[in-house]
């Protein structure tokens, strides 16, 4: 009884015929190992634990479908404990000791930067599922999260549109680290190019885990009282968001007056906040749990079943892992081998369906095409999609709006270079 139901769900989740787990027979050979490198303790556990679980689920489902190339997959979980050097150490362990064929992991930019030399040295694959500041294209890394042009710029465009409220004055509030700094640099350049006066842009940085937002929220309120429609673009990170939104709610800033669009607040983060005072505030992502389509509904159902929690939410980085994993499977099948070096070359051009109804493609710069969705917070902690790009947006490794990188492109197919300068026609400079 339960077997058949699981069978059904597995099928539904994958959208392909499969045999029940017990009946799957694998070809000869040891299982193929997949590394999962997400913090399970320390400050980042709050975000990353979920991604470990989603990977375990995806691998289980793949095995139920017969594995890859007839080989069973086996997950190897490492806990880098939110400690950046430990990320590098664990990555090395996964690759050289456990001989994994690919690693799915990292959340913060610094953890990615920390493992990067290891992946380059040992020539393995990292799938990085989180939206980030861009300005990177490495042969061994595949960026399945959003680049700034797939999140920040469309969000600002939306707020400038009639539907978004035609914002004229901008607060760029962020946590003081590289992602907000870079994103705000890009946005500032973009806004100025759109004719926004420098006096109409306020930039504010706060430390990690900032918890006393009284002054800043009051400042935003005052900045918003200049007689022009004001919007806040928030790149505030993780833990600081809850007190920030609580303060917004308490000081009565309503989305109809000053909308706040966030790039780091998803379903998972909202689960810790009472969203009633926040209805209408926005988030820009490439995926929302509330998107209606069969693939997404099956995914959510499977996830809630897998975690045995009917209220578990899904979010954007989970979808990124979903896409990335399926791309990896297809690339392995295309290459006919698990050898990371060959799989890296097979990956660009691979397509895989995403959960919002489109088909994402791995680009030569190792970023993927994604739709951009703007969602408004609902009182049940979910998002209402109020706007979305008509097609998929290709991810830019290098921002067109930054002085240093506007001439750079990443191209690992023809030019075999992550930072090719189109002006000098040279790789590197």
């Amino acid at each position: 009884m339960s077997l058949s139901r699981r069978h059904f769900l597995g099928t539904a989740a994958a959208g392909a015929a499969s045999l029940a787990a017990s009946r799957v027979s694998f070809a000869q050979g040891a299982p193929i190992k997949i590394g999962i490198l997400h913090s399970l303790s320390g400050t980042m556990a709050i975000s990353e634990t979920t991604l470990k679980d989603v990977m375990l689920m995806l691998i289980e489902d793949q095995n139920r479908k017969g594995g890859v190339l007839g080989r069973r997959l086996e997950a190897v979980v490492a806990d880098p404990a939110s400690n950046w050097p430990l990320f590098a150490e664990k990555a090395r362990e996964l690759i050289s000791r456990d001989q994994v064929s690919a690693v799915f992991g990292c959340w913060t930019s610094v953890s990615r930067k920390s493992v990067l030399p290891v992946f380059k040295e040992l020539n393995n694959i990292l799938f990085y599922p989180v939206q980030y500041e861009g300005e990177e294209s490495e042969r061994n890394v595949f960026y399945t999260g959003a680049a700034p042009n797939q999140q920040a710029i469309p969000a600002v465009d939306y707020l400038m549109s009639k539907d978004g409220g035609e914002a004229k004055r901008w607060v760029l509030a962020g946590t003081d680290y590289v992602y907000p700094r870079t994103t705000n640099k890009i946005l500032e350049a973009y806004l100025l190019s759109k004719g926004v006066a420098p006096a109409d842009i306020m930039i504010n940085y706060t430390p990690f885990g900032h918890s006393d937002w009284q002054t800043i929220v009051a400042d935003i309120k005052r900045f918003g009282s200049a007689g022009k429609k004001t919007a806040v673009v928030s790149t505030i990170n993780g833990d600081a968001n809850v007190p920030f939104y609580k303060e917004l709610g308490n000081q009565g800033i309503k989305a109809t007056d000053i909308p706040v669009v966030a790039f780091s607040v998803g379903e998972e983060e909202l689960a810790g906040i009472d969203t009633k005072p926040l209805v209408g505030h926005l988030a820009a992502w490439n995926y929302f749990q509330s998107v209606k389509n069969p693939a997404n509904e099956a995914f959510i159902k499977r996830w809630q079943e897998f975690t045995r929690n009917p209220r578990r939410v899904t979010n954007d980085p989970m979808e990124a892992h979903y896409i990335g994993f399926n791309m990896w499977v297809k690339a392995v099948e295309k290459a006919g081998t698990f050898d990371p070096d060959k799989v890296i070359d097979a990956l660009p051009g691979i397509t895989a369906p995403n959960l919002t109804g489109g088909v994402s493609e791995m680009l030569p710069n190792h970023h993927i095409t994604k739709p951009v969705l703007i969602g408004e917070v609902r009182d049940d902690g979910q998002f209402d999609v109020v706007w979305q790009t008509s097609g998929l947006v290709p991810g830019d490794a290098w921002s067109k709006h930054l002085e240093g990188s506007k001439d750079l492109i990443g191209d690992w197919v023809t030019r075999k270079c992550g930072n090719f300068n189109t002006v000098t026609n040279r790789c590197g400079s």
């Binding site: 399970l40 430390p207 918890s211 009284q214 002054t215 009282s225 810790g272 009472d274 408004e376």
Partner: protein
Amino acid sequence: MTVSPLRWLCACGLWLILAVAQPLQAQPATIPADAATRLAEDGFSATEAAIGLIAASGAPHAVAALEAMADRRLLFWKDPARAIWRDAAGASFDLLTGEAVASPPAGASLVRVNNRLRGAIQAALGTLTLLSPDPQRRLRAAEAVLRSRDQAALADVETALARETVARVRVALLEARAALILTGTTADRPTREGAIATLVDVADTTALTVLRQVLPTADATLKPVIEAGIASIERTMAIRDVAQTVWFGLSLGSVLLLAAIGLAITFGVMGVINMAHGEMVMIGAYVTFVVQEVIRTHAPHLFDWSLPIAIPLAFVCAGAVGIAIERGIIRFLYGRPLETLLATFGVSLVLQQAIRTWFGPTNREVGAPSYMSGFFEVWGLQITYGRLWILVFTLVVFACLLLVLRATPLGLQMRAVTQNRRMASAMGIRTRFVDAMTFGLGSGIAGIAGVALSQIDNVSPNLGQSYIIDSFMVVVFGGVGNLWGTLVAAFTLGIANKVLEPFAGAVLGKILILILLILFIQKRPRGLFALKGRAVEQ
């Protein structure tokens, strides 16, 4: 549920008032069918048009329908176009006629709203509810009109103003009228000057917004008046800013004090360095979460009582954990503060991971009861209820603690034991019991702090860590063993932080405070209110 009849009563009441106020106007009972057609188009612009139609219809159920739309309770069908709304109890009503619908057909979709539409609905509701019998509603309506600056509402505002008796609503109406007059084109110069004067009197951010908004387009003769008005408001606000900073500082100080006050007992009175202090705060916050979960599932109507229920529970839970730590670990380490520090740091790691294992690593939602949300204004100063209650609560806890220490047998014994353990023991005081109770008291108070902090911060396993360093700084700055010192230190640090923040920024401000503290401790190694004398030095 009792809401729906109430709503109906309101709507009917409104209709009655409207009927009385404008007897000449025809009263169509229905909303034009076009509204349903536009809704069925399922586009934001079409929906906006529908809102206009509904608002303009004058139908008695327009208010209920618009409110339903804003709350995502309005459904539509295509072919044929039809729309109904559900009230909070789940009963369905036809949009056009307002009549109850027994069994709506299947295949409905929700009318989607975004911020723009929500703004439009608010504006429409504002005009429609200006004459509502409920003052709260009238206030919201006045604010909505002020926000929308919908010229058509001017006449209604005047009517409402003529009969308004509640002072707060009156001010809001006056401000709305002034805004409408200034942004409109019809009023003459004296009326405009009067409106400017009204706004200067109100002198809040909205008034400033309106004046700034009309300044560029105002005619040359009026410009100086408006400029003078803006300058006047800015002057008022500059003074207000100082008060605001002090309030923010007091509020931050109360949070610091709340977090540190338990430590002032365990560290200040007993001399135990409890690195797991932050985790006691965390336990208190999680107790609040559990209480709210239980209430949500079993007795939702008690939600506003969740905090009063959580406070004693948090005290007991955190206190019990504290006593367990004292009995199990700390008592073996008296007189070895540095070892205590290490052992309790270990305890803090274990507690964090335990919470992470049981409750998961993600943030947990702790809601704000009605009395903790929102804000009120005093002389233009916005005081958020949550912060105010936390400040009051902190002072109450502080007073209670003083009382316990000064006036109860336990307090007496505690002081006796800390001053001379051997003598106290010889006097028949059970020193071990007193140690455990003192530590339990300190931990329990930390737990109470957790209840309050759950209202403004993350409820996550990392909650405690973010307060531990600040708490130690407060206690050391204030002078160990001196509760009043802790109080003064917390508020001093809070205000200093808030004074520095606008100039130096939040990050640099915090760094500066830390450096100043380090330097201060060099100057007065024993804090602000150090006890002098031989007893202390030994």
